[in-house]
């Protein structure tokens, strides 16, 4: 186990090193930098600023400077926001996380229940209805549903706030504040859940169907166990195993921000920050955030593998 773990960590470091090179050079070689996007500066002033920000140094040297600082946990200052990249991300990332974790929770809850039910009743009318619904949900674009929901539920029916994370100017704290946020979360979470539940439902349904046809399930049934027990204890547990990998992949997505949804619902998440940074070529911020996502991806992968070993004895034997 230890040697396996160490090996994995070594590969992880190697992957991240590769990723850092890729991230840095992709951004460094994109035409235009932060100073270039400032229209009002004279050529002379631009050169001065480039020297001040270290943008005039050779690309390779800039990479090593960046790496050296990054290894010490310093991702530099955002040029546009004049703040350390990490503290800036800290301002926005948790809002995205809140939205993502809630909608992921509901997505999985709904997807598992529907997936299991429709697998258990394959070819029934319920199954057919789910299949149609799943495809409908998968094919709708998020901005369309988002705008429609705002129009119907916020502007016309006045049931929910039209956007943002809290009432404008609200000074509530504690529980009333939490309730305010919950109300503001309702529409974006619904939209996110609605649109991602489809794929996952299909995934669980297929998994369940596969497991149900296996010998051990047939054996369990033959032993005279109740259908409920067969489904939930024997089949579902096994059908959920591959989902662990899937869960590992969700990790970066939880922090990555749902750019379009955040935009439509005016949610103060990291997605908007990222887009804004891109348009002005705020490289420290862009590189820091992308690197952060790369780290999360690698960690997500590792933890999925480790969890898998815990959950499935067959993997452990290898």
């Amino acid at each position: 186990m230890t040697s396996y773990f160490l090996k994995r960590v070594f590969y992880m470091a190697l992957t991240l090193f590769g990723a850092s090179i890729l991230i840095f050079f992709l951004y460094a070689l994109t035409p235009g930098d932060f100073v270039d996007t400032s229209l009002k500066l004279t050529a002379e002033r631009k050169l001065e600023l480039k020297a001040m920000y270290g943008l005039d140094k050779p690309v390779v040297e800039r990479y090593f400077i960046w790496m050296k600082n990054a290894l010490q946990g310093d991702f530099g200052y955002s040029l546009q926001y004049q703040q350390p990249v990490m503290s800036l991300l800290n301002d926005y990332i948790w809002n995205s996380f809140l939205l993502a974790i809630t909608s992921t929770f509901f997505t999985w809850l709904i997807a598992i229940s529907i997936g299991v039910l429709s697998a258990a009743r394959q070819h029934s009318w319920f199954d057919a209805l789910v299949t149609i619904g799943v495809f409908a949900a998968m094919s709708l674009p998020v901005f369309f549903v988002g705008l429609l929901f705002i129009k119907l539920f916020a502007v016309d029916a006045k049931l929910f706030p039209a956007g943002g994370m809290m009432m404008i100017g609200s000074k509530e704290t504690g529980l009333t504040y939490a309730w305010d946020v919950v109300q503001h979360m309702f529409l974006p979470v619904t939209v996110l859940t609605l649109l991602s539940v489809g794929t996952l439902t299909r995934y669980f349904r297929t998994n369940m169907l596969e497991v149900i046809q296996q010998d051990f399930v047939r054996t369990a049934r033959a032993k005279g166990l109740k259908e409920k027990v067969v489904l939930h204890k024997h089949a579902l547990r096994n059908a959920l195993l591959p989902a662990i990998t899937l869960l590992g992949f969700e990790l970066p997505a939880l922090f990555g921000g749902a750019i379009i949804t955040e935009k439509i619902f005016n949610w103060p998440g990291v997605g908007q920050l990222y887009m804004q940074a891109f348009s002005v070529r705020d490289y420290p911020l862009l590189m820091g955030f992308t690197m952060f996502l790369a780290i999360l991806t690698v960690i997500g992968n590792l933890s999925a593998d480790l969890l898998y070993r815990v959950a499935d004895p067959r993997v452990r034997l290898k």
């Binding site: 994109t30 035409p31 235009g32 932060f34 270039d36 996007t37 400032s38 229209l39 009002k40 500066l41 004279t42 050529a43 002379e44 002033r45 631009k46 600023l49 001040m52 920000y53 200052y77 040029l79 546009q80 926001y81 004049q82 703040q83 800036l88 301002d91 926005y92 809002n95 674009p141 901005f143 369309f144 705008l147 705002i150 129009k151 916020a154 502007v155 006045k158 706030p161 039209a162 956007g163 943002g164 994370m165 809290m166 009432m167 404008i168 100017g169 379009i260 935009k263 439509i264 005016n266 103060p268 998440g269 908007q272 920050l273 804004q276 348009s279 002005v280 070529r281």
Partner: protein, 582 residues
């Protein structure tokens, strides 16, 4: 069924455009030319339904329709603003929206009115010496920062000093004013700036080395408190200032109460404001992405700006309870020639490119009538504007004739040639409405003249980088908001070369150089008017750009808010102190 399907598809498409076109414009002195490329429904032709909308403020028709949330609000004004970033220092922000936030907190000595003319603010008056080199600002008595500490000439001197610091990395270029001894200070050869003299707490004298019409507004800018911002100042080190960007202290009508990243900026009225405490106690800039009409509809917000098009105007008119503000932007859009290309050396070719392009049609289709063709590089709202130039009305025959005269004759394939070179031009633009409309029209227009027009749409920064390298023939841009007429033309100076906005890549005209110099070398607006008139005539004859148009800016505010008059140069910030809620 087919019809239904196409209906659904077109609704979806329209939705996409609504989302992608959500770049809220006008509310901010935008930092990029993206203001030139708004988008809305791509197919609608010029509107006819909303002709009753005039420039200026169109008053609300039915205040009784006001949503409850807005009607209940009596001491808070809420305006929408795209993504401020938290650098609330007038000399250090790099994001135009932070500029909007700061302008409510900081007050300047001199401001500009709706036509761009300087008007007194914290400075009661100013004297300029007969040689126009020395400025003496007389501060109003008993000025205070929002914490109650006095604002004196020392603070003004301090502000100007740190702008000269070697490590200053903001976008204000104080060296334009050429204060005496400024260079020496920057190079650390002197400990103080020779040209800045505090005479008494209310009087400061600034000596410059060169007459420059832009100096007055530049020198009379916003004021930082020396006691607050200068505590740790040592020449050559401005790092410490970063920690104060989020805790601004100024002498503006409002003071910062709280900044919630990505959500809102909250202000409180400043009781020490020189004109007296503003009547509206709370002011909030709410971060919104795009038009955010829904916030106006639910009454959560009082003011926002919108992309100008008939749909938006119609929707706003239907609401009934908003005042609709429509005014002409102080920016202009243009296509720049690469003057280092041999075919653009001949001004007749450039003229032909202007005559041969149906600019009116392009603007009508892009902005549905809410834009006008530009023929001078300054907006009609400015005091320097004139119509006394060649209007270059669309005239393909004239264009052909000019090309013939310049020696470009149609070849076998219909494309003009000269000395074995074909007239093929490459045009770069950003993705967006203007490009989408312009490309097909220009292609067709120029084909008729015998010019092959190759267009490419790319990311804004890519256009910028390629044009700076001179890797283009034509490229389109828009200026930022322009205050002084010189801002709109300084790129044409030979001295400026490639700098200035995006440069001209080699435009050179001795008479233009001379007039540009002259335009800056007097502070007398009447004299400058005459000079710019001559300049615009010369530029019209020997065009450095194909000027496209001046757009309209649309915003709307809840009819209960009185005294709000958005200004093409400063947006809503000038009105803030005088707003009332009825």
């Amino acid at each position: 069924m087919r019809k239904r399907l196409s209906q659904i598809i077109s609704t979806l498409l329209l939705g996409t455009l609504l989302v992608t076109g959500c770049s809220s414009e006008g509310s901010a002195p935008a930092t990029s030319t993206q203001t030139a490329t708004p988008s809305a429904d791509a197919t609608a032709p010029a509107a006819s339904k909303v002709q009753d909308i005039k420039d200026g403020i169109n008053l609300a028709t039915d205040l009784s329709k006001l949503p409850e949330a807005a009607a209940k609000r009596t001491d808070t004004f809420i305006a929408g603003l795209t993504e401020p970033g938290g650098v609330f220092n007038p000399f250090f922000y790099h994001n135009g929206y932070d500029g909007n936030v700061t302008s409510a907190i900081f007050e300047s000595l001199v401001d500009v009115d709706a036509t761009g003319k300087p008007v007194p603010k914290l400075a009661e008056k100013w004297d300029v010496s007969p040689d126009q080199l020395t400025y003496t600002f007389h501060l109003r008595p008993n000025l205070k920062f929002s914490d109650g500490s006095p604002l004196t000439a020392e603070d003004v001197a301090f502000t100007l000093t740190i702008l000269h610091d070697k490590t200053y990395d903001g976008e204000t270029d104080i060296f334009v004013a050429s204060i005496k001894g400024g260079r020496e200070y920057k190079e650390r050869k002197a400990n103080t700036i020779e040209g800045i003299k505090v005479i008494d707490p209310q009087k400061i004298q600034i000596t410059t080395e060169k007459v420059n019409a832009k100096s007055l507004v530049l020198l009379g800018g916003q004021v930082l408190s020396k006691a607050y911002y200068g505590k740790e100042y040592k020449p050559g080190n401005l790092e410490y200032l970063r920690t104060l960007h989020g805790k601004p202290l100024g002498a503006g009508p409002y003071k910062l109460e709280a900044y919630i990243p990505g959500q809102e900026v909250r202000y409180l009225a400043n009781e020490h404001y020189y004109k007296g405490k503003p009547q509206v106690e709370h002011f909030i800039y709410k971060t919104t992405e795009g038009d955010a009409l829904q916030f106006i509809q639910t009454g959560e917000m009082d003011y926002n700006s919108f992309t100008v098009n008939s749909d938006n105007i119609e929707q706003l008119q239907e609401l009934g309870y908003v005042n609709i503000n429509l005014y002409t932007s102080s920016a202009y859009s243009y296509i720049k020639f690469n003057h280092s290309k041999p075919f653009f050396k001949d001004k007749r070719v450039r003229q032909a490119f202007i005559y041969g392009l149906d600019r009116q049609k392009i603007l009508d289709l892009t902005y549905q009538g809410y834009a006008q063709v530009a023929n001078v590089p300054i907006s009609p709202v400015s005091w320097a504007y004139t119509e006394d130039v060649n209007p270059y009305a669309y005239n393909p025959e004239k264009a052909k004739q000019l090309l013939d005269e310049a020696g470009w004759k149609p070849g076998a394939d219909g494309i003009r040639e000269k000395d074995g070179q074909k007239l093929i031009v490459h045009y770069y633009t950003t993705k967006g409405k203007l490009g989408e409309v312009l490309i097909p029209i220009a292609k067709e227009n120029y084909k008729e003249l015998g010019i092959q027009f190759e267009a490419e749409m790319m990311d804004y920064n890519a256009v910028l980088a390629r044009t700076e390298k001179g890797d283009h023939d034509l490229a389109s841009f828009s200026t930022t908001m322009l205050i002084d007429p010189d801002d709109g033309v300084d790129a044409f100076s030979t001295k400026k070369g490639k700098s200035g906005f995006t440069g001209t890549n080699g435009y050179s005209n001795a008479k233009v150089d001379e007039l540009l110099e002259a335009g800056l070398s007097t502070l007398d607006i009447e004299k400058r008017k005459a000079i710019y008139k001559d300049l615009y005539k010369e530029l019209s004859d020997d065009p450095p750009y194909i000027l496209l148009g001046y757009r309209k800016i649309l915003s709307a505010h809840n009819g209960k808010i009185k005294g709000l008059e958005p200004n093409p140069f400063t947006g809503i910030s000038t009105s803030l102190p005088g707003i009332k809620i009825e």
